[in-house]
């Protein structure tokens, strides 16, 4: 455990300077944040209106009108503010800060005197606060605003929103708990738990940590709060707008409240709820040293990432309840793989790295980041996927109702627009996912190979370093120490799973030995200023197979190169993509294409296409013996994250493969 009891494990002060990622951080700063501000103000033409800012204005008494949007619409403002906080920390922007300050004043005005804050209940159902924790997301919205408050405070030093949210947290603390007279409940959508930990870490107020602990520990206890609450409402459902049958305790698996979290064996239910909860569990395990909670985190991590995760780092295989289904059920076409769920997976992974630095966590974090997450946003930063499929047939998305949730093109905005601002806050805080460090063990872990300048305070003293990385296109990484303490310390560089151990370390140009621990190459010594460690990772394209229990991928392989998963798009290949196949012995060739959406390495290979010319349109089935020899074709695969940015068409990650 990394200094966990005292919460000293942190990510340092890090500033990204990276050819690949600068594009994203600039995009978020210059396009996404302004665009989403317009969206929150209902100013994007032809997009679904958000109503989110207007709701605050109505709640603050500045405007008359009806509440609009989802019951959890407040959280979109919160996530945007959180992203603004991260952005301002790295790139001061007085105008943006002024806009944010104004929004914060608006939020403060919408807060009740007792600290309660929620525009839905303020505008639409005053007096009904805390009567529908199961569905109404009050604590969820509060949690997001707490995260925003912490981010904004840490970026600007301004306490206004932090004070508002501490007051809100104090109010929540006065309402919820095991003490007589308090409501012994918890939210239907986990989020407050991880937010309270952040609030605790930012303010040092132990009550917030204890409240987070209470929410986690109470969840799934008997009698089941969510079920009992539903009975008190006589089954009235916010979504159904009528009384529905009282759900069973088992049905609370959707909310991960079917049993105490410590007893949960597999990842179940709504995927975003699950990973937000696991994130808080890992936080609490680190801060309290709770072994049982840590075991639960490991168990749920293992189940989720080893049996329920797509190769793109997507999780949640069914759109029914945006949920996990069961082990190895990972259909590519009816997939969900919500953007927010992969972002939550990254949160969880980072917390696990803080608990125990094992490269497995970073491998998954990287997988989700480079594929599912950045793939969810268009290259123009103005269009988003909510669902991230591994196989798309546009016509099926239009005309087969079971696949209508899978969009073949990114959308401008969504009625339920949780994902776009989530991408913005993740990418604007990406600097905090690159490293962790242990002050007492005097070790700096590099998890992601993203060019950056960083500063760490170890017990040994201050370390400043500069990472340079050619990823994802080339495998060259270097770390140069610009300031070193007088005492020794260790650098721990992740050995990515995709390098298969073929990684070479040099120090100032000469080969150097390192020891391997939990997937990290560790080199500890007395460093000199200007020391330069280079880390050359094998980065070769390869065909990847899926576990045989994943039936959807039987007889298929995916192309991967380093952290990137590749896919075939119709525009580069042909339709139907399903007619294409590759032989296992085919050589995969990496080619840098300057013209492809700002430049990217594409993979070319000799493949085959089933012969089609001899088929008649009037013959749906015929003897296989009539099939003529397949035709040689050039396959061209592009990084998954770039799909859907050109001519719309079919796409597939998994390619039929003949093993030879």
């Amino acid at each position: 455990m990394l200094d966990s009891a005292r919460g000293q494990c942190s990510t340092g002060r890090v500033r990204i300077q990276d050819e690949f990622w600068n594009r994203y951080t600039s995009l978020v700063r210059e396009t996404v944040i302004p665009y989403q501000w317009e969206a929150l103000n209902d100013l994007v033409p032809d997009a679904q209106p958000s109503f989110a800012i207007r709701n605050f204005r109505i709640a603050a008494g500045l405007e008359a009108g009806e509440y609009g949007g989802m019951v959890f619409q407040d959280s979109d403002v919160a996530k945007w503010l959180e992203a603004v906080g991260y952005s301002l920390r790295n790139h001061p922007d007085p105008q943006l800060e002024q806009t944010a300050d104004e929004v914060i004043e608006l939020i403060a005005r919408a807060q009740h005197k007792n600290g309660y804050l929620n525009t839905y209940y303020t505008v639409k159902e005053p007096g009904q606060e805390w009567t529908n924790l199961h569905e109404a997301h009050e604590l969820y919205c509060a949690g997001h605003m707490m995260e925003a408050a912490v981010a904004y405070y840490e970026a600007t030093g301004k306490r206004r929103l932090l004070d508002v949210m501490c007051k809100c947290a104090d109010h929540i603390d006065s309402v919820f708990g095991r003490e007589p007279g308090k409501l012994r409940g918890y939210d239907g959508h986990q989020e407050i738990e991880l937010a309270l930990v952040k609030l605790y870490e930012s303010t040092g107020e132990e009550r917030y940590l204890k409240l987070a602990q209470y929410f986690i520990d109470e969840r799934g206890a008997e009698p089941n709060f969510l079920v009992e609450e539903c009975k008190r409402r006589e089954g009235y459902s916010h979504w159904g707008k009528k009384n529905l049958p009282i759900p069973s305790v088992e049905q609370m698996a959707y909310n991960q409240a079917h049993k105490p979290v410590r007893e949960q064996e597999t990842a179940v239910g709504h995927a975003v709820r699950a990973v937000y909860m696991y994130t808080a569990m890992a936080d609490l395990a680190r801060l309290t040293g709770d072994r049982e909670l840590m075991d639960a985190c490991r168990r749920l991590w293992n189940n989720m990432t080893r049996k329920q995760m797509y190769i793109t780092g997507g999780i949640g295989s069914t759109h029914h309840g945006e949920a996990f289904s069961f082990d190895y059920d990972l259909p590519n076409d009816t997939v969900y793989a919500e953007t927010c769920a992969s972002i939550g997976l990254i949160f969880f992974a980072r917390r696990m790295l803080e608990l125990e630095p094992k490269s497995e966590y970073a491998d998954v974090m990287e997988r989700a980041l480079y594929n599912n997450v950045i793939g969810s946003m268009s290259q123009d930063g103005r269009h988003y996927f909510y669902v991230n499929p591994l196989e798309v047939w546009p016509k099926a998305s239009e005309r087969n109702p079971g696949r209508q949730h899978v969009k073949a093109a990114r959308q401008k905005w969504f009625g339920c627009s949780c994902c776009p601002p989530n991408v913005a806050r993740l990418l604007s805080s990406l600097n905090s996912y690159i490293y962790t460090f242990s002050t007492t063990a005097n070790t700096i872990y590099t998890h992601l190979f993203i060019g950056s300048e960083a500063e760490f305070q170890l017990d040994a003293g201050t370390v400043k370093l500069k990472q340079q990385s050619c990823l994802p296109w080339e495998g060259n990484v270097s770390i140069e120490l610009s300031e070193v303490p007088a005492a020794p310390f260790a650098l721990a560089l992740r050995i990515p799973s995709w390098s298969f151990g073929r990684a070479v370390m040099s120090l100032n140009g000469a080969p150097v030995d390192y020891r391997v621990e939990d997937g990290y190459a560790i080199i500890g010594r007395q460093w000199m200023q200007g020391d330069r460690v280079t880390w050359v990772l094998a980065l070769e394209p390869q065909l990847t197979a899926a576990h045989p229990e994943i039936r959807a991928n039987a007889g298929k392989a995916a192309i991967e190169r380093g952290p990137l998963v590749y896919c075939l798009e119709e525009t580069d290949n042909m339709s139907p993509i399903a007619s294409l196949f590759i032989r296992s012995a085919s050589k995969l060739k990496s080619v840098y294409d300057h013209d492809l959406l700002g430049g990217a390495v594409v993979i070319e290979a000799d493949g085959s296409a089933d012969e089609r010319a001899s088929w008649q349109t009037d013959t749906p089935y015929r003897p296989l013996a009539q099939q003529r020899a397949s035709e040689p074709v050039k396959l061209r695969a592009v990084p998954y994250y770039l799909w859907g940015n050109r001519t719309p068409g079919e796409m597939s990650v998994w390619i039929r493969t003949v093993v030879e």
Copy 2:
């Protein structure tokens, strides 16, 4: 056209005597009809109650109580009675006839004085008759009862139900039509149209034919009746139990009422509604010589059977609306392929054969019959599939909501139990699907190779024949003429698509020439009593490929042998079935297995299984290069219609195939 204008084209008097089919006809007679009678009376333990008979008792004033079951529950009684009619025709059974007579009296008592008959509106919504044609199935239920009345009358000569239903038809004729004061509408679920044709053919009453024509011609006309009716109800929905948005004309594609039937290009909407309508269209085209209608029938047939039909003869690829989706969208796992839809496809095929004897219609009829339809019923006759999948993973059926409609085991009965009685009425009237004949052309067409004794009245005179068939296990068929007229006539034997023209005809043991017309081998001559034509059809197992546009089957093949489609079951092979593959050059061996569910030819072949032993449970993805050589396995495929009668497990029709 086969004497169509005068409706003389018929199927003769046919009695099945066939080793394969006797089992089914006996099962229907001895088990299915009695079992379904119990089901209709709510006497099957642990099965969903039907309420159907009880509804009639309540409507007849013999019992107090609430209406139970679906709004169209009456039709289950009708379909049962229709099956009883067919069964009594072939196998008199005084006790069964007495039960049926009692039910008929009950039905007569439930009829209103004006002829109206529907227990739902009588019991539950009196006064609201004909206000919700879109959803409430009144004409649909009436149609089924008309079919029952005709079947029962033709079997027993008893007019009681026929009179009841003529009175009902007269009432409907007084309510619906284009004349002032009449309701210019039609039913949301087609059925009345084909039923009125049957009533016309049985009674000679032209008004019934004209009413059927009216319903077909009016459908989809502007302004759209179903939409306008919905407006009059202010959008009130029977199913939603509240007012819903008024649907668009385009949404009426579900009911095939989005445009006039003559303008419909592709099979769309609810599959059962579609094929019931096409059946009536073909009837009307035959009886009226309407070329436009005939063209529409051909167009819709072609689209449906060439681009939207599963290899098992299943139609309807999505459970959302139990509907067609679009061309070549035929997923095997999320499939619908409702039993009733394939039965309706058989109805349509038979009507097309009456219009124009082309073997293509009979090929499809046979495909649907031998696979989807008989596969829907368990070998004990007491369990049924509503959905007939081509790929089953039982765990996914349980735990992935998008596949929960696909059951891995047949059910005892259903809340919406349209399928079981539909199977009963089809199988008990199977004798009428074997032949058609043209009196004026003096030709007898044999469409299905099912052992039977038959009698036909041609212009040339009376023909009696006896067909013997070893299908589906062997390809030997013979037709012996036991009575021949003095004038010549022709026998036309279908050349099944699966024989690929490799069919040998002999007359009295000596080879004989025949001419081929529209897929039939025709031999016309002056016959002698005792003449025996043998027809030896190539019946070899083969691998069948699907059209490349059917993406779900890319890189796969199905095993077929004669009319039977085969499948791999877990109990004979292994799990996951997706790990298995076959090489295109593998020899398929037919083996008769006496012990398999009463005896069946199974197909054995050398196949391969992906190597699995080297996989770790903690590795979802790994380099394909780590995959060891596949392992040789013996594949064992059983006829699709037998699947799910042994140990439950995975099943797949389509098998991964390496083309060599």
